[in-house]
Amino acid sequence: MTDPRHPLDRLADRGQPRGADEVLGAARASQPASPARNPKVWAAAAAVVVVIAGALAMLRDDAQTTRVQTVDDPVASTTAPAPTTTPTTTPTTSTPPPVARPPAKYFGFALEAGIVAFVDHGDDVTVTEIGGVRGEESETSLAVDASGVVFHHRAFTGCRSDIVRTEPDGGSAVLVENAVHPALDADGARLAYASGSECTPDADLLSVRDLATGTTTTVPVGDPDDGLPWRITDVEWIGTRVAILANQVDGQEPASQWVTLWAPDAGALRFDGQVSLGVGDPSTPGAVTAIEPAPGDAGSILLTRRAADGATTDVRRLALADGEETTLFTVDGEVGAFAALSLDDIVYVAVQPKVDFVRGQIDTVRRRIGDDDVELVEGINSVAVPAA
């Protein structure tokens, strides 16, 4: 006899339930030991970090593989326990912050351990590290202003990511918002970012915060026709407008990529046009992985697009008026992040899956001036140029 119930009602009864107590017990047993709740684990972890950091420092000294001179002691600045993942915790640092000022002209970098470094534009590359900003995973993004104030997105395990603000002396790290992809406007006065209703990486809310008044304007981004949400995968200021790199989400399947523009207007964010980037999401070959402003040109945007075979990545200029893409240069492998001083002077993170038993995958920052392409520093996962 046919079961007359709704097929999904019948599907809901599939399998043999194990019971609440067994499932809850297994979930508790599966919990990873949390260092945040165990001082002994923290002490052991700190000791391991000291040993590894010391070994790395020795390796770097021995190998002389980069031209970087570290001003502050990297070992001391990596021994503090990382901030807890408790959602209500305001990030702080427990080590005495090294006093560091950025050079007059600099790039900001996020190191693998979440430490921010400033690198002078000049030929004598000097890294000045500050210790107040820490990430737990390599997925980070930066926004820096001319005085060295850093807005740093750091990802936690699971759904949470925070943007924290750190002063250039490393003395304080203040939680700004549970959000991702910080971007400062040209004046350094407004911060744009993306957030999600619960799971930050699935960001579908775009916000602009006036840093002087704290006033924040938020708009949900989604298809105006069918209401399906867009997932924001990058945020940048293009002149006075905010550009987002977004995936149109069909159900839970990434369907297509877009750059959409939003204009802050009388306390609101107004939709101001879009450019189609084709099918895909940032993890698929052929897709766009990041956007950046094109210096001096509010009618264009720079983007990185992976080749269909995944072997190379183009840095391209996209004309917002007609969607035409012009390749500026092509690099082997993937580009993790990039920033442009001009169309002929672009700094990018080259992601090379290099096998190294001590350091594993090594990301290197390279600077492309015209046709010259030189390595600046390694062990970097994000790069930014300061707002004016």
Binding site: L8, R10, D13, S197
Partner: protein, 163 residues
């Protein structure tokens, strides 16, 4: 940033007791959204591991909604990962069956996306309004309604081709 919404589950005082009450509902939802290859209890357990890892259940405004969203995301991730793997196998020309199949008239439901299955189930079977469905799935009411419409369309297509 959390969107203020009305909780659809009671406050948690005693976690064990609360979970015993919520378990049948959570397991049924897991059975609906989980891929056919995933045991519903495993999905509930995975979601619990993640939620407990962020702190106590009692700190959540709406633990059932949070767990449902987590399960939907986990199920979608699994499906997406499987599809990427499948595409890679297609490119390499290797032989791999599209989905493990089982002799059941419910097997075709696996073709629906987890979000669609969840939306149709919560609205049509459990009779929840779309704003509540949206809370449980972690999307806007419009997106929940759209997912349900698409899910029903797919269901109708599947039912038509059944003998």
């Amino acid at each position: 940033m959390s969107m203020p919404r009305t909780p659809v589950s009671p406050v948690v005082d005693d976690v064990d007791e609360w979970f015993r009450c919520a378990y049948p509902r959570l397991r049924r939802f897991a059975a609906v959204v989980a891929p056919p290859t995933i045991d519903p209890d495993d999905l509930v357990q995975d979601a619990l591991v993640r939620v407990l890892g962020h702190g106590a259940l009692a700190r959540l405004d709406d633990p059932v909604a949070y767990l449902c969203r987590t399960m939907t995301n986990l199920a979608s991730d699994r499906r997406r990962r499987w599809r990427r793997g499948q595409r890679a196998h297609d490119r390499l020309g290797s032989d791999r069956s599209p989905l493990p199949s089982y002799p059941s008239d419910l097997a075709d439901l696996g073709r629906l996306r987890p979000m669609e299955r969840g939306a149709v189930y919560l609205h049509d079977v459990e009779g929840r309004p779309f704003d509540e469905v949206a809370t449980l799935l972690g999307c806007t009411a419009a997106a929940a309604r759209q997912a349900a419409v698409r899910g029903r369309d797919h269901l109708r297509t599947l039912m038509k081709v059944e003998p």
